[in-house]
């Protein structure tokens, strides 16, 4: 059954990349516990608009946990405290009356703030451009069942492919590393026979791009795995490391 709660929000406001930014406090009153976190922000924004103040900029789209657009830190945790849940799927029934919530953007050198809670995550696209694909032109492919893929391999590839590219792994890593993101794509394609021909080039290229974009290195804090809304496992990072070393030591790719 739904009830209503009152909250205090401390929200990061920053007008653009040139602004230093600061926390501002807002009351969120009469919040139904059936609301999603983003609906709670909608309510606050409606109020701000009517008061003639500028609403809080935050990103969102599908609001069902799959597009990867939303995401902020809530009390220091990317996507909030609930395991395996993106911010849009976090509901207010997980908060108590009188709570104070500190809401701030994903922080990383590679994710510059655009406005308030909105950051620029295009670095993740640049990493994919460096090899997160299989080079097949449209129409040039063999019949789909030509290459059988053992079911368990396909399932593990799917586990990795579930990454929504939200960047929570980066935001929760003390080094702001994108290793979980990179490893998910490298693993998905390395596990499938279709991806093997380019495995070495892919691992080297994507890691190089990650470094080039200003992400840090992995030092096994495992915070990424803990906050990933899709619960992508760090087993993938181990696989990326194997693929990377194999490529660096044994392949012709440089």
């Amino acid at each position: 059954m739904s009830k209503t709660i009152h909250l205090t929000l401390k929200i990061w406001r920053q007008s653009g990349s040139g602004d230093k930014g600061r926390f501002e406090s807002y009351p969120a009153r009469n919040i139904s516990t059936d609301m999603s976190f983003l609906e709670m922000l909608d309510v606050v924004n409606e109020q701000l608009t009517l008061e003639g103040r500028e609403p809080i900029a935050f990103e969102h789209d599908c609001r069902e946990g799959i597009c990867g657009t939303c995401g902020t830190l809530v009390n220091g945790r990317a996507h909030g405290q609930l395991k395996g849940t993106s911010l849009c799927q976090l509901h207010m029934r997980h908060f108590a009356d009188g709570d104070t919530l500190v809401i701030e953007p994903f922080r990383a050198r590679a994710f510059p703030v655009i406005k308030d809670l909105v950051v620029d995550r295009s670095a993740l696209d640049r990493i994919i451009q460096a090899g997160g694909f299989i080079s097949v032109d449209t129409g040039s492919t063999p019949e789909a069942n030509t290459l059988p893929v053992p079911q368990d391999r396909a399932e593990r590839a799917m586990d990795a492919a579930a990454c929504i590219g939200c960047g929570a792994c980066v935001a929760s890593c003390p080094n702001a590393s994108a290793m979980l993101f990179v490893s998910a794509k490298v693993s998905q394609l390395a596990l499938l026979p279709h991806g093997r021909p380019e495995a070495a080039r892919r691992a080297l290229g994507m890691v190089r791009a990650m470094d080039g974009c200003g992400f840090g290195n992995c030092s096994n804090h495992r915070e990424c795995e803990k906050t990933c809304p899709k619960e992508i496992s760090i087993v993938n990072i181990a696989r990326l490391n194997r693929e990377f070393f194999k490529a660096a030591l044994l392949s012709q790719e440089r």
Partner: protein, 637 residues
């Protein structure tokens, strides 16, 4: 204006081959001389961008999001159809074609649908080669499942995330072409006008959503892949950014709008639960493979569903449609759920819900099997509702999900504006009055991978192009128009927010242009919307500035277009004096409350032509000729 669908002559199975032979080709060395704009990066836009770039064209691709990977195709859950016939259960290209035409209640073009079925198999080949991790059998071969509206298993799937995996496949192909320098990517751009010069689409005007700058982009052809307009209802399963603006602006520049009243209400969504609600969540139709839909036998039964004994439940779909049971097409399932709730048999706090029960399936197959098939969907349900669907029946209700209507296109997917092509959900072409499950992904990718690469070449090779740069007066006029409109939004400074207007618009449309329509209701709604639109321009409040990242301003533009577009939907619904598929006019139903078509008078595509601000649009009709299938009353009994 005469609508020419340009359907090739000859027997149905040979039309596409023949057409591909007859289309002119662009010499590979000449392709780099052509610039093509693609707006949108969902399945259609990403696949089109990648495929055209692979051929050697210069592609400029625009998306509203920070990354092309976020387009709403990503949220499609259930699967993608193809006529592979792997399960050996009697499928064929002809059967997929037939099912799609019948499922669409005989309001789609035979030739387009046949081509869709033909290329469906190539799509699966393409996606597998890209590394899409489809579900597989123990032997390593691809798995299939059945899906609403079909009596066989032709649906390929990747858990409940098929759309995500297909989109990431197309996105990866697109990213590869960005790296190759053949695609220039413009993220965080919203197309706000189409630029037409000498009758040809030659570019777009787009707003940079970060800086607010209004930009000009010129090309030799424009491809719109901007999705559907379900958010006209405010509450829908569409992502929040989905809108009609790109297609509506093109309509105002001369592209006719086809069948705008054909909308799909999906039967299995999580019910509405509060006035603050921002969107609805779909539960994949695949759930109907194992879930049984029921309501209490008597109205007003307020017991919790799990307390209602078997004998006092009415499994109404199984009772009314013994051969299809819970797998009837979406329009039929939705309408029946509404009918039960209208009779007071609905469950839940609002009475606007029916049960979807897995108890029998869990008893039969065991929880692990059900968990493997639907685990992520059950989890999603629990997150949103706080209830455990393994222990208590799910509660579901229909919600707006997809729009079959869209810009009118010919067989080449070109609109009534030369050089303006429209792909995927944004066009009207393949689903008639109702789309079958797992067909949207098929159509988006068919259009992008396997149709546009051929047909756009035919257009480019067969056309003459004047030199048009972005300094052309047509661009200057368009930029001025866009900037004036932006200034107008900011100047009103009224008392109501954009969302407030949007909600009200949505309620009017849901009540009068939703699952059931009446002539009176449609007319009443039209005057309500005219009044609401007038109020919007007097009383809306849009904070912030034009030259800034301004989400309120973005929303204002989209809602203003919805407020105009809604009227077009109502006009179209009123003009179609029959019921078909998702368009159900209460005056036209069989004795068993099914949609009653009027093939003598309405076997046509309605294409609406814009004739000027404040004037009624003109209706053109493209007659639909059925030479290969026999028009029947759809029966799923």
């Amino acid at each position: 204006m005469r609508l020419d669908a340009k359907i090739p002559a000859g027997p149905l199975p040979q039309k596409w081959d023949r057409h591909r032979f007859e289309l002119k080709l662009v010499n590979p060395a000449n392709r780099r001389k052509y610039d093509i704009i693609v707006v949108g990066t969902g399945l259609a836009g990403a696949s089109a961008s990648a495929s055209l770039a692979e051929l050697g064209y210069n592609v400029k691709t625009y998306c509203i999001h920070d990354s092309p990977r976020r387009a709403h195709s990503i949220a499609a859950q259930g699967g993608i159809n193809a006529a592979k016939n792997y399960p050996n259960d009697g499928d064929s290209i002809w059967r997929l074609f037939y099912d799609t035409v019948k499922g669409g209640d005989f309001r789609a073009r035979e030739a387009n649908v046949y081509r869709l079925a033909q290329v469906s198999n190539w799509i699966i080949d393409q996606c597998v080669a890209q590394g899409v991790p489809f579900a597989r059998e123990y032997g390593g071969l691809l798995a299939n499942r059945s899906f609403g509206g079909a009596q066989l298993s032709r649906t390929f799937y990747a858990r409940g995330q098929t759309g995500q995996q297909l989109l990431l496949g197309a996105y990866s192909a697109l990213m590869r072409q960005v790296a190759n320098g053949k695609v220039s990517l413009f993220p965080r751009r919203e197309m706000l006008d189409l630029v037409v010069v000498n009758g040809q689409a030659r570019g777009i005007v787009a707003r940079n959503l970060v800086s607010g700058e209004v930009e000009r982009h010129a090309a030799h052809a424009v491809v719109l892949c901007t999705g559907g307009y379900g958010n006209v209802y405010y509450l829908s399963t569409n992502a929040k950014a989905c809108n009609v603006t790109a297609t509506f602006r093109a309509y105002k520049r001369g592209a006719s709008f086809g069948n705008p009243c054909f909308t799909q209400i999906h039967p299995t969504c999580i019910p509405v639960h509060g006035t603050y609600q921002s969107k609805l969540t779909l539960m994949s139709e695949s759930l109907r493979n194992d879930g049984r839909v029921w309501v209490p036998r008597t109205g007003g039964d307020k017991r919790a569903p799990s307390q209602i004994p078997e004998a006092e439940r009415d499994y109404f779909l199984e009772r009314k449609y013994p051969s299809f049971g819970n797998l009837v097409p979406r329009d039929v399932a939705s309408r029946n759920a509404k009918e039960q709730c209208d009779q007071g048999k609905g469950v839940g706090e609002t009475g606007l819900a029916v049960c979807l029960d897995f108890a029998d399936a869990i008893r039969r197959d065991g929880r692990p099997v059900i968990e493997k098939k639907y685990g992520n969907l059950f989890q999603m349900y629990e997150k949103i509702t706080g209830e455990d669907p393994y222990g208590t029946p799910m509660m579901i209700y229909p919600a707006v999900h997809y729009t079959m209507g869209g810009l009118w296109v010919d067989y080449n997917l070109m609109s009534t504006v030369d050089g303006l092509f429209v792909l995927g959900e944004a066009n009207f072409s393949d689903h008639g009055a109702n789309r079958l499950g797992a067909s949207a992904l098929m159509q988006g990718l068919a259009d992008g991978y396997f149709v546009i690469p051929y047909t756009i070449g035919g257009y480019l090779a067969g056309s003459r192009f004047a030199e048009v740069a972005d300094g052309h007066p047509a661009f200057t006029d368009s930029v001025k128009l866009v900037q004036e409109r932006v200034a107008k939004f900011l100047a009103v400074n009224g008392r109501r927010t954009v969302d407030d207007f949007h909600r009200q618009l949505g309620l009017v449309m849901w009540d009068h242009c939703g699952m059931a329509r009446t002539n009176d209701g449609l007319e009443k709604a039209r005057s309500q919307i005219q009044a609401l639109r007038a109020e919007f321009w007097q009383d809306v409040r849009v904070p912030g500035a034009a030259g800034d990242f301004n989400q309120s301003l973005e929303k204002a533009g989209r809602v203003a277009d919805f407020l105009e577009f809604a009227e077009l939907m109502l006009l179209d619904a009123r003009a179609r004096q029959e019921s078909c598929g998702g368009h159900f006019n209460e005056a036209f139903q069989t004795e068993e409350n099914e949609a009653r078509r009027d093939d003598a008078n309405f076997c046509h595509v309605a294409a609406w032509e814009f004739t000027g601000e404040g004037q009624d649009p003109v209706l053109h009709k493209e007659p639909l000729a059925f030479e290969n299938v026999h028009l029947t009353q759809r029966s799923y009994k």
